[in-house]
């Protein structure tokens, strides 16, 4: 690796890290404003115009607050846990292209680690490590509620890893590669009809749902559900350590939104505005803007969902994963395999996706719970 390569990589890493963390803080502002609007409130409006300096004030508060470590915690793991959490979510971003890849400059490129052929596998491998941060945090806290939250989280993450991986398996088969850049470019070469969401709508739905569960966002925020678990795995955390868990969650939301846009919605391409052949000046800026707009839409949708759907009960959460998403994802992969093997048109997959979805609905109709047993008093009287 030459020196210039090293400099470029360091530049890209600093831009990515700084950008992600900066966007994170303003995502919190956006989320607070949006949730305020949804609840007929005003949201932060005291610090700066429209509360725009609120994230800075929050950050200062987190840094200056007393960082309390309870007496009976495992100090090493207790400190390590938030670091693992942030590290893994940020590391996943290494292979995610965040700009038009074909317009790489000499001094800059739009991905930290270019040309990783197992990009998709890398992302899932690393993001599933994030559960270590949660489990370590809950376990090292020496607190029952923390452990309960952490255990729920491990069960949840392990369950949702499966549909998450399987939903993108179809994309990988269709694109013939696990490289995120290649997947994006293949979609761009065809145009808007090449977007994977048209041939894999079910996979998109499963991926999005499972990814929400992976990032511990509502309606899947069981590990930190306040009503039952005080604060969940981060009950004992304060100041910057707590902020790091929070940061990890938001970074995860960003990663998930990037992945959704890249895998299913044509990445930085949009017909007429940004195509692989558009050669007007500053085309890379437009490409960047297109991708960021898609990501923003995704994030706003996640925030809308947060205040729309109530939290799942734990058994419902498990039911959804094991009885709903995993069989559907599996059948979807089988459909993709059959289509590719028999060399049929890809558009059959759109039909099979819809068919699978409707079939799942119809199946759950026939599997309705049998009526409850009558009360013991009535049973005894009948006897």
């Amino acid at each position: 690796m030459s020196l210039s390569d090293l400099i470029v990589t360091i530049l890209v890493i600093s831009v990515t890290l700084g950008g992600t963390l900066g966007i994170c803080s303003y995502l919190i502002w956006l989320e607070r404003k949006l949730s305020a609007a949804m609840q007929d409130r005003l949201g932060p409006n005291r610090v700066g115009p429209a509360g725009l300096f609120q994230p800075i004030a929050d950050g200062l508060k987190f840094i200056l607050k007393e960082e309390f470590t309870p007496k009976y915690v495992d100090k090493f793991l207790f400190t390590l846990a938030p670091c693992v959490s942030v590290f893994t979510t940020l590391l996943a971003f290494a292979v995610v292209p965040f700009g038009p890849m074909e317009r790489t400059f000499e001094w800059f490129r739009f991905v930290v680690a270019p040309g990783v052929d197992i990009g998709l596998v890398f992302v899932f491998a690393v993001t599933s490590l994030a559960v270590y941060g949660i489990i370590l945090g809950g376990w090292a806290s020496n607190n029952k509620y923390s452990v309960l939250g952490a255990l729920r989280s491990s069960a949840q993450v392990i369950s949702y890893e499966l549909p998450l991986g399987m939903s993108v398996l179809g994309i990988a088969l269709l694109s013939g590669t696990l490289n995120l850049e290649q997947i994006a470019m293949k979609q761009g070469a065809v145009g808007i009809l090449g977007w994977n969401v048209w041939v894999q709508p079910l996979a998109c739905l499963i991926f999005f749902t499972a990814a929400l569960a992976e990032s511990n966002r509502l309606p899947f925020d069981l590990p930190e559900c306040e009503q039952e678990l005080v604060g969940g795995y981060h009950t004992e955390y304060s100041a910057m350590k707590f902020a790091m868990f929070f940061l990890a969650e938001y970074a995860h939301v960003i990663t998930v939104s990037f992945l959704t846009s890249i895998l299913f919605f044509g990445a930085w391409y949009f017909p007429g505005i940004s195509t692989p052949t558009s050669d007007y000046p500053l085309a890379w800026v437009v490409g960047l803007a297109v991708l960021f707009f898609k990501v923003l839409c995704c994030i706003v949708f996640i925030m809308l969902l947060r205040w729309t759907i109530p939290r799942f009960r734990f058994d419902q959460l498990m039911n959804l994963a094991w009885k709903g998403l995993i069989p559907l994802a599996l059948l979807n992969v089988v459909c993709v395999m059959l289509t590719l093997h028999f060399d049929q048109s890809r558009w059959w997959l759109a039909l099979t996706s819809i068919g699978l979805f409707l079939g799942a609905g119809a199946l759950s109709l026939t599997l309705q719970r049998s009526p409850r047993p009558t009360s013991s008093v009535a049973l005894r009287r009948a006897a």
Binding site: D40, R41, L304, T308, S364
Partner: protein
Amino acid sequence: MSDPKNADPKDEVRWVDEPALGFWESTFVPAIVQGLRTTIRHVVDRKPVTQQFPEQKPELPPNYRGVHRLNRDEQGRVKCVACFMCATACPAHCIAIEAAPAPWEDRDKYPATFVIDELKCIYCGMCEEACPCDAIELTSQFDISAISREQMLFDREKLLSIYDATANLPDDPVRTHRGALGPASELEVQPASPPTRPVGDPAKEAVVGPKPTPKEPAGANLVAPHLPIPGAPTYSDAASAPRRRKDG
């Protein structure tokens, strides 16, 4: 009830089955779409109900019960006659009064000290109901604060100063008998002679409180004794006058 076979069917636990899901319900889609529509409607059509408190004062209901005040009569003296009715009525026992012989001709006693613990008070308004001469009233002031518990013990001067601050506000008019002492002081049968001063009478002193102060302490508005009060409403006027302002 002990024999399950003879149990009244009405006492049984009734099992209520959740309604069966239809096809669309079991796909979650209509519920999510419906919910998202509600959420998005609130974002697009923003109608915040937040009141920006320090800048924007809340609209209080007319019978709002805030901090107390001790009313003054038309000569600026404290209206209270230290009858202890409010302290007796108070369910929170937050009123402490020490009575002293009044330096004025028109009443027997007046409060030498009158302390309300605003932290103990539950703002029920019973003191106001109980007061026979409308001396204590609850204002609509609610934003009182202090940096110690002692500062929240409001003494007579503080309560009178609240009167001075609020009596002419549109929100807090003096509700009844403005300037007059109140119906209890205007009974048909007035004492024939001026009330005897309990000077040097230890038995009476113990009843009414500490050593009588001939003059009000500094800060109070001392006005010469005055009887009868010109223009004061009679007892019958008072009975027909509205008890509470702004009601109805």
